[in-house]
Amino acid sequence: MAQVSLRRLVKKYEGDVQAVKGIDLEIADHEFVVLVGPSGCGKSTTLRMIAGLEDITDGEIAIGGVVVNDIPPRDRDIAMVFQNYALYPHMTVFENMAFGLTLRRFPKDEIRRRVDNAARILDIGELLDRKPKALSGGQRQRVAMGRAIVRDPKVFLFDEPLSNLDAKLRVQMRTEIKKVHQTVKTTTVYVTHDQVEAMTLADRVVVMNNGIIEQVGPPQELYHNPTTKFVAGFIGSPAMNFIPARLENGAGALRLHLPEGIVLPVPPERTKRYAPHAGQEVLFGLRPEHLTEEKPTDKANIATFQVRPEVIEPMGMETLVHFWLQGTEVSARLDPAVPAEVGRPLTLAADMNRMHLIDPRTERVL
């Protein structure tokens, strides 16, 4: 087991496609790090460079303190789980899992012991004599993980391992992966474009966009304190509302002037932080879960205003209400008991303690 360091890592493909534009990342021993971001942002490229499957254009990768730039995959002591599993179709499950150990000339009984142990962890003991063709998607997924576990490598690498599974199985395997990590504690780098997967699995989430790292942090921190508009919009579902607004200073208190004459007071605790930006056009960011029906609470800094819902989506445990403020779509999450009707005025309560202000030019959170 080992820590992994990426230093000013750059990848250029042929034809001047710069897939990774100089990223720095320190991954601690035993840590579970998830790389998340939209399609094409360079997650797989980064992972494949760690694995040694892609050449490094510039920068450095170290595993366990050793720079591995020029070390081939087979000597890096890593294991990888691929999106489509990449099981050897002509080998049985046992042979698939044992292959790495056989090549490394482990004694037969040691191989047997390790495969049996991994099969027990993953509950695939019955499948050891089958060929991959005779397995379901979820079972193949387990075998692919088993192949990684038996090696007991320094680092596990996962590239979207769950995206070929149906929704229900994905949730189940997600738990399974977390359980396996808690058992074997191997340092793990996990790539996904699904932010829910990232949030649930990670010790730390790395949000990537366009070949750079936008923000690194524990899931809760990314959720509560995003530093860029991209992260604010990417983490959380449904996505955060961004409403154009003007920050005004009136009589020592800051106010946000939203479209259609809505004025919201900024909590006094934030005055110092936002005061320098008074008079500026900003983006007001508020998650749908912080824009709800009025509740009989004594919480401070709840601001109410009236809207006319235009789309109503009952989800069962909640109801999503959408309305437009001068061309900007805004969503709110209501208790399903609240009677909401399209076109009938509805009073919403914004939890201003959870507000974010974004500079529309730099797209950074203020």
Binding site: A51, G52, L53, P72, P73, R74, I78, A79, M80, F82, N84, A86, L87, Y88, P89, H90, M91, F99, G100, L103, R104, K131, P132, K133, A134, R147, R151
Partner: protein
């Protein structure tokens, strides 16, 4: 118990017996009937060009030389006792087996070399390497014959250049056998190359990546990933090539005409010599029919392996 039986026995025919009217119509609408009708032209062609000649050959091979009398298996017995024919069996097996092995090996190596080339250069080389296979063999064999020719031989000229003694390429039995195998290999290797190249391209890259991470060297990737993934295509190309090479005619006919002293005759050329040139058509038919059991044995072994692996999902 007895009651139950009667009910079933009476019940089933009543349930599935179709009403008499429209039976023909229904039959015509069934998919299998339609499929049969649509393959009928092909079946007719196969019947006319394969099945009929095959049985006609069997009938022929049991007649006497003038084709007036039925002689049973006499022709076969006669052939087996003849030393030349025993030589022909040996030579056909030697020729087919060594040429197919050489073709498969060379084709495999060429396919690998091509596969590692970048896409643009690959097309050019692929085209050039296919040339031997697209030239009609009778023509290219003539060119080879000229290269081997005792007085003008380009090979002997080269040998003389390095100070070696000239080789009687087509005059000595050993060298003549080598020459026909060489030419057949030259002609047939591109077929293996193109089949193996296609097979190589169909192996998912991720298997090699997984193997690289599992710790496989280039050689181990070949041994444990490429070869097992290609086993079916290798079996089928080998079988196909064995059949074609066994029945080869043109190369031997042009290059050596079976000589020297019948030492390069194959089933095909020998059947031609006996049947057409010497005018004993029944004996010639018997010669060519000897190929059938030999090839059937090869085919059974190879196809059994193929179908087993197909069932396992390879």
């Amino acid at each position: 118990m007895a009651d139950g039986n009667t009910i079933t026995a009476r019940g089933i025919p009543a349930a599935i017996a179709p009403p008499r009217a429209g039976t023909l119509q229904r039959l015509a609408r069934r998919r299998s009937t339609l499929a049969f009708l649509m393959t009928l032209p092909l079946l007719a062609v196969i019947g006319g060009l394969v099945v009929y000649p095959f049985f006609y050959a069997i009938e022929l091979s049991m007649l006497n030389k003038r084709m007036t009398r039925f002689v049973g298996l006499d022709n076969y017995v006669f052939l087996l006792g003849r030393e030349t024919f025993q030589l022909v069996i040996f030579q056909s097996v030697l020729f087919a087996v060594s040429a197919v092995i050489a073709k498969a090996l060379i084709g495999f190596v060429l396919a690998h070399v091509l596969h590692t080339l970048p896409a643009r250069g690959q097309r050019k080389w692929r085209g050039m390497l296919l040339v031997p296979w697209v030239i009609p063999p009778a023509i290219s064999t003539l060119a080879w014959w000229w290269l081997f020719d005792p007085s003008y031989s380009a090979f002997n000229w080269l040998l003389a250049g390095i100070g070696a003694a000239p080789v009687p390429w087509l005059g000595d039995p050993g060298w003549a056998r080598f020459a026909v195998i060489l030419v057949n290999t030259w002609y047939g290797a591109p077929f293996f190359m193109i089949m193996y190249l296609a097979a190589l391209k169909s192996v998912p890259d991720q298997l090699y990546e997984a193997a690289a991470i599992d710790g496989a060297s280039a050689w181990q990737k070949l041994r444990y990933v490429t070869l097992p993934m290609m086993r079916n295509i290798i079996s089928i190309t080998v079988l196909f090539s064995l059949i074609v090479t066994f029945a080869n005619f043109d190369i031997v006919r042009v290059l050596t005409n079976g000589g020297p002293q019948d030492r390069t005759h194959l089933f095909g050329t020998y059947a031609f010599q006996v049947g057409i040139q010497s005018g004993d058509i029944p004996l010639g038919a018997a010669v060519s029919l000897f190929m059938f059991p030999l090839l059937a044995i090869f085919a059974i072994f190879i196809l059994r392996g193929v179908s087993r692996r197909t069932k396992e999902g390879l």
